[in-house]
């Protein structure tokens, strides 16, 4: 067994192990360290002795033993650990039951994504403790020095301990509000990976895979939460378009111009099945609606076959849940297709999205389509100054050049 294989199996179950130990010892840092310790032992034992029958069971048992040793050795350690030792007794061995372990993981997710923690800390904690990524890897993915990320993690763990952020699944009346934070963290991780993957930075696609893994896992843990299912469907349907999303030279290819034969049919099928599951449940929410919008796009073999009427109707529904100018901008893009660019332009002009590059890019496209070319040109210029993403920049530059060429033809 290769050490990379050990690492892969280990990462799969490290979140569960940290979660179980955190409940057992009431100390997140201890849980994390001891699971790390178990990893070192796994690197030594597994290649020699083969994979244990239950890798999570092996890790939890090994980490728990290490934790008990540590607690015994450091008798002066903090009161909570001693209490926990008294509570459970040092010799007691808990049966490794799947059910409670899954609950532990959910508890850990809700703790990592607690709204009293800064969003950047929520993301870092989730990737470190649930996804089992190394601090070094998380730092690289977010383009910050490792020391900065390490400090962010320590500060967050200290706040959890000092402020006594509870380690539990929120009661049902609080669950929807709290679940939104968990979903937002996963969606953020996905977007960070997805948006940047079109640019020049490498290695950040890992974030997309981590987000998909977390979303899949959350659906396993909470199959009855439709927004969770909606989020997974949304991520799958967006990810399905990745191969068509950038031209060989790295230019972003807009949805309407993508080569749809490059879309991943397996991911689409999986995403659409989940969207259907949500439709049957009929308890819509923002992620489910966004997934449905992407499912409608996936249905169209050619861009001109898109059911724009359905898409505009879904955006209307989305606006009820999230009445933001960004959603209104996306709706306007669909209105341009369903009705007319001039109608869409009227809608766009009302949105106060001055600092957002896409606002200017959409406005420029619409102005060009209604023949207001010089205004379109300055809108493209404005858009170009507002994004640093290479793929987006290249698309804007290309559109700008096409526009100038068209203007020259008209002038002759």
């Amino acid at each position: 067994m290769e050490s990379s294989e050990v690492e892969r199996v280990f990462r799969e179950c490290s979140g569960r192990a940290v979660a179980t130990l955190a409940r057992r010892f009431g100390d997140l840092s201890l849980a994390e360290e001891m699971v790390q310790e178990a990893f070192i032992q796994a690197l030594e034992h597994w290649p020699r002795e083969g994979l244990p029958a239950s890798p999570p069971g092996w890790i939890i048992t090994t980490a728990r033993r290490a934790a008990l040793d540590r607690v015994r050795r450091e008798a002066s350690r903090d009161e909570r650990q001693k209490q926990s030792l008294r509570l459970y007794g040092p010799e007691e061995s808990e049966p490794l039951d799947e059910g409670p372990m899954l609950d532990d993981e959910l508890r850990l997710m809700f703790t990592c994504c607690h709204p009293a923690l800064a969003p950047s800390a929520q993301v870092a904690l989730t990737l470190r403790l649930i996804a089992g990524l190394e601090t070094r890897e998380i730092a690289r993915a977010f383009l910050v020095p490792e020391a900065t990320m390490a400090q962010r993690l320590v500060r967050a763990k200290n706040k959890i301990r000092d402020a006594n952020i509870p380690y539990r699944i929120p009661p049902s009346e609080e669950l929807p509000a709290r679940l939104r934070w968990v979903l937002a963290v996963i969606y953020f991780v996905f977007n960070e990976g997805y948006v940047s993957s079109a640019g020049t930075e490498l290695g950040r696609t890992d974030l997309v895979n981590e987000a998909l893994r977390l979303a899949r896992h959350l659906v396993e843990l909470m199959p009855e939460e439709h927004e969770t299912v909606g989020l997974l469907a949304l991520l799958l349907l967006i990810e399905a378009r990745r191969p068509a999303r950038t031209a060989p030279d790295g230019t972003l290819v807009p949805l309407g111009e993508q080569d749809r034969s490059l879309w991943d049919p397996k991911l689409i099928a999986e995403g659409q099945a989940l969207v259907r599951r949500c439709l049957v449940a009929n308890q819509p929410g923002p992620y489910q609606i966004q997934a449905a919008i992407n499912a409608v796009h996936a249905d169209a073999r050619r861009a001109e076959d898109t059911a724009w009427e359905q898409i505009v109707a879904l955006y209307d529904q989305l606006l009820v849940f999230t009445p933001t100018p960004v959603v209104a901008l996306n709706r306007a893009v669909a209105v341009a297709e369903l009705r007319s660019p001039s109608e869409a332009l009227t809608l766009v002009e009302q949105l106060g999205l001055e600092p957002y590059y896409l606002f200017h890019a959409v406005r420029a496209d619409l102005l060009a389509r209604v023949g207001r070319l010089s205004e379109a040109a300055s809108a493209y210029e404005r858009a170009g100054t507002l994004t640093a993403n290479q793929a987006e920049l290249k698309l804007i530059e290309r559109r700008h050049h096409e526009l100038l060429a068209r203007a020259r033809v008209l002038a002759h």
């Binding site: 607690h114 009293a116 000092d162 402020a163 006594n164 952020i165 509870p166 929120p170």
Partner: protein, 117 residues
């Protein structure tokens, strides 16, 4: 049980609200305090005079030194506070939500080092 400080942050020198608004605020805070006391979460609370009434005391070269005015020159100052008992941060945050609703100013929640007596 843990102890938390809920401090009320106010902008010093900001125009005071109208008498009607003040009246309602006092009534709301009173009502909130009663709920807090009945629940057993109440430890202590109080409203503070403006920072212009504050004095900073420090030791300089072995001498006690008094300085007129607040320690921090910040515009936002603590206008009052509650000290409460709660089993965890979620419970403390719930009380803080009630507190900010009653007093109409942002409330900072900060854990004590010591558990509740």
């Amino acid at each position: 049980m843990n102890q938390y400080l809920l401090s009320v942050h106010m902008v010093e020198g900001a125009a005071p609200p109208s008498p009607e608004v003040m009246q309602k605020m006092f009534a709301d805070v009173d009502a909130f305090n009663q709920v807090l006391q009945k629940s057993g979460a109440w430890i202590f609370a109080g409203g503070l005079q403006p920072v212009t009434s504050a004095t900073v005391v420090r030791i300089k070269e072995g001498e006690v030194l008094f300085t007129d005015g607040p320690f921090s020159e910040a515009k936002e100052q603590i206008g009052g506070f509650w000290v409460i008992k709660a089993k965890d941060l979620d419970e403390a945050l719930k009380w803080a939500a009630g507190a900010t609703r009653a007093c109409g100013a942002p409330v900072e929640v900060r854990p004590f080092q010591e558990p509740a007596p």
